[in-house]
Structure formats: C-alpha cells, structure tokens
C-alpha cells in the first residue's frame, strides 16, 4: 500500500498537524519506507489468533463510587494558557455555527 501526498495531507489534517508542502515529499518517502517493512505482516497467518488485549487474563478492576478526587497541588489557573471566570478559553471556532457542527472532525 503506497502512501500518497494526499494521504499525508489527509492524516495531517486528522492529527491537527500543519505539514509544509515542501516537507511532503520527504515524509511520503519516509512513511512509505517504514510501511514497506510492514508488508511482511500480511504474509503471516493469523486466522484464529486473538489480538492481544493486555498482559494476562486479569479483568478490569473497578473503583467504588466515592470521592475524594485526586487533588491538584496547583490549581488549573496556574498552568492553563487562558482562563476567565473559571472557564477555559479558546479562540472561537472559525466556521462556528453550533457545537454539533464541530463534534465530527
């Protein structure tokens, strides 16, 4: 499976990374180089083999429905880039119409 420039642009957008056009050829070559080694996997028979789901058979441990929460030694205000009246602020969604718009990519 060869990765194209469009593929790289597409995954860069999904990952919210801005890849300069000038870097694309190098990245395409590197990704294709890496992925070419993965072709060996296609030849391995794995019918009936379960994908690994953790080490050992231990089931998920649960926690009781009580507090207290893990405390923050310094408050959110001390490390958040921008806050106001207790809210975190981010720039307004550029093409915003409503929240439901943005929740899909």
């Amino acid at each position: 499976m060869a990765v194209s420039r469009d593929d790289v642009r597409h995954v860069a957008a999904l990952a919210r990374l801005d890849v300069a056009e000038s870097r694309l050829p190098e990245l395409v070559a590197q990704l294709n180089g890496i992925l070419s080694h993965m072709d060996a996997l296609a030849k391995v028979k794995t019918t009936g083999v379960m994908a690994t789901a953790g080490v050992g058979d231990a089931a998920m441990p649960l926690r009781a429905d009580i507090g207290p929460p893990i405390p923050l030694l310094h408050p959110l205000e001390s490390f958040a880039p921008q806050m106001r009246d207790g809210f975190l602020l981010v720039p307004r969604l550029a093409t915003h119409e409503s929240a439901a718009d943005e929740s899909d990519e």
């Binding site: 929460p69 119409e97 718009d101 929740s103 899909d104």
Partner: protein
Amino acid sequence: MSAKESTLPSVCDAYEMVVGLEVHVQLLTRTKAFCSCSSAYGAAPNANTCPVCLALPGALPVLNEEAVRLAVRAAHALSATVNETSIFARKNYFYPDLPKGYQISQFDKPLAEQGKLDIGKNADGTPITVRITRVHMEEDAGKSVHDRYSGATAIDLNRSGVPLIEIVSEPDMRSAREAGAYLRALKQVIEYTSVSDANMEEGSLRVDANVSARLRGETKLGTKTEVKNLNSFSGVERALEVEFARQCEVLASGGTITQHTMLWDANRGEVRPARSKEGSHDYRYFPEPDLPPLRLAPAWIDQSRMALPELPSAKQARFAADYKLTPAEIEVLTADAPTGSYYEAVVKAGADPKAAANWVIRDYKQAANASPDPRVEPISSGSLADLVKMVSNDVVSRSAAAKIFTIAVQTKEPPLDIAKREGLIQERNEDALTGWVDQVLAENPDVASRFRGGDKKLQGVLVGLVMKASKGRADPKAVNQLLSARAAAGE
C-alpha cells in the same frame, strides 16, 4: 396509532418514514465514570476536575463500579443481553471540550445487545415493539459555551467524564408519534429503575434521530440523515416531520438524499445541514489500552436481572388484573414509580382499589403537584386509606371527605380525628334520624302528606330537608332507607 400523519404535506403520502433513535442517558452515580470527581450538576465552572478528567499528561482512567451496575440494570430493563465480556474503545476526534482528544466509549463489543421496548398497542391489542440494537457505556464531554465572551469559546469540564449509556434503536419507528412514544416509554423505564433522571430539558437525556424516507411497500432502507440539537420530545416529533417532509419533496422531484447531519432549529421550526468537514467521521476506533476487558460473572448478571424493580409494563398488567382499573386510570397511576407504589400502599391498607384510584388520581395528585417538595407525600398512604374506608363505610359523605382531605394535608392529623372535630361524622343512629325525619315531616305537612299519598319523587326533597335539619350530619343513605321503609309501610 394512525399510520397517516395529518400534519404532513400530501407529498409525503406516497412515502413511509423510517426512524431510529440514539439516546444518551446520564447515569445517577455520585462520581464520574473514570475518576472520583463529583458528577453533580451546578458547581462553579471547572470546580469538579482532577488530573484524569482534565487529561493531564500521565493520568489514567479507572472505571466506576456503580456506573457498571446502573448500565447493566438499564440493559436488563430493556431486555437486552448483557455480554460477559465487553471492551472499551477510543473514539478519536479533536474538540475543546474533549480533553483527551478521544472519548472512551465502546465499539466492537458493547455492554449489551439485542433488547426491545414496547411503546404502545396496535388497534388489535398487539404490542408495538421497537428493537434495541445495543446499550453501551461511555463518558460525557465537557460543555462549550460560544456566546459568553466575544471571539472566544468558554469551556467547562465539570461534565467531562460523567458516565453515560448510549441506547441505540433499530430503525423500527414509522412515525413521529411512534418516536415520541418510544422516548416516553424509554424515559419511564429509566426512571423506574433509578438509572437516571432522564430529563431532556436538563440534559440528562439527549436524543439524536436518524430518519429516512422510502416509497410505501419498499423494503430497502432509504438514505438517512441524522438530526441533532433536539431539546424536547415534542421537538423530536416536530423535527422528524419537518425533515421527513423535506426528504419527500427531494425524492418526489427526482432528487437523492445525501447522508448528512442536520441541525434542528426549534425557534424557526426548521432543519438545516450542519457544516461537514472533508474527512469527517473518521474516529479511528481502537480498543482502549488503558482498560482491560470488562468481565462480568454470569451469576452476577443473573442476580442483577432478578433484582430489577417491577417495570412499567409488568405493573400495568398487574394493576389491570388485580385491581380491575381502566387503561386510563392505570396510565396515570403507573406514570411514575412513586405514584404506583403509593397507590398500592393505600390499597394494601384496606382501601377499595377503585375508590383509592379515584382519590389518588384526583385529590392526591393535585395536592402533590401543589406541594413545594415533590419527594414528601402530602398525606400518608395509611391516612388516605383510612379516609377512603370512612367513605366506603358511610362514616362520612364523599363531600365531607374532600374537606377532611384538605385539612389532613395541611395539619397531618388522622382523618377520623378531623371528622370528629369538624362534626363531619355522618349520623346513622336510628333514633336521631327518626327524630329528624319526624321533625321534617311535621314542619312540612304538605310535602309529607303528598309523600304519604305515594308521591315517591318527593323522597329526594325530604332527604334534602333532613340533611338541612341535621346540618349535613345525617347519612343520606340511611335517611333514604328510613323514608323508603316508611313509604312502604304507608306512613
């Protein structure tokens, strides 16, 4: 339920509406799904946060056992099969109120599958059933507020991590009314099992609707659109009709429907397409590596099914069989679990079921609605039962009882005490009654003689006069008996 919706334009006549609903319900836990922050509503913005729900580097999720318990209870209440093993998965997308950049949800192996919900009856009495594809667990996102500060979006992560279940139905609904009935029945079942407040206006229940149109008789599904931003059950019904009508117009004029997310605008009564991005909807699901598979012991699953409280449908059937109530009466008495329990307590304390139903549906419900605290009973079931029995045994008249009820709600006194103090106990003593009858007959010789002469119609008048003479205390039934006996004896 009629197949034809009279509010739809005629272009829709040739088409059938097909609806599936995805409902998200917030679970009634004290803490969040994956951390011990309080999940209570109403705190100051970002007050209920910690490293986990803030997605600080290095934080890890640990699942809340009560969330599992409630989710399984909901699955049982919807007759869904609970999977012994289920897997959590990451749903990856970027949004400022989704701190990790992914939501922990379930994808390939959900908590439960293949359930159903009865939403009403066909004309022939058979149930209308909506199948439920799956019930799965996930976490809620935070809240984004877009219009509080200009040029910015304000984020509150208190809600981030609150446990949800998502209930996905098959596309089994065929009208807006069926969709509404499904939502009402679903909310009722959820409330009965104390899984959630399930309040759409408050946000503890959210609905996304999938709707498509196809020519009547066609079995293949048409292309569906997803309608979001729904705020009430009636809004869901209206939005479905508006979107269905739009689809019919498109199809009727030879066009095709493209799969799209539509947003409901309740103010304008319109749907419009959400802006879709190129490369949308690639959530890149993969199993959550921070959470091993959830394994539930079969014995525990069975036990939790046995421990289910009685569900609405079972209660309704039982009320019909045991208490011989009408469907309308049953609907009101079983609308919520507390009312049903209260009613039964009144009956168990000896009140006649029919009479008790009447009292609960009218007087009690009225008092409950007027009361400031919905959790406090305006009158105890024991007291109400006593009052109902007092009426059945002719100790007080029905109208006197209404007065006693009002006083009892205010003062919390036993009804019998109130009746005695207010002089409302009906007099049945034969001597007293005879006295009043004689008095009335003596005071009204003209009426008396015509009555003696055989004019039975005047009995009612005489009863009224006796009631007046006794200041309402005479038992009208007994007075009637007395007068009838006298008439028969020719007195």
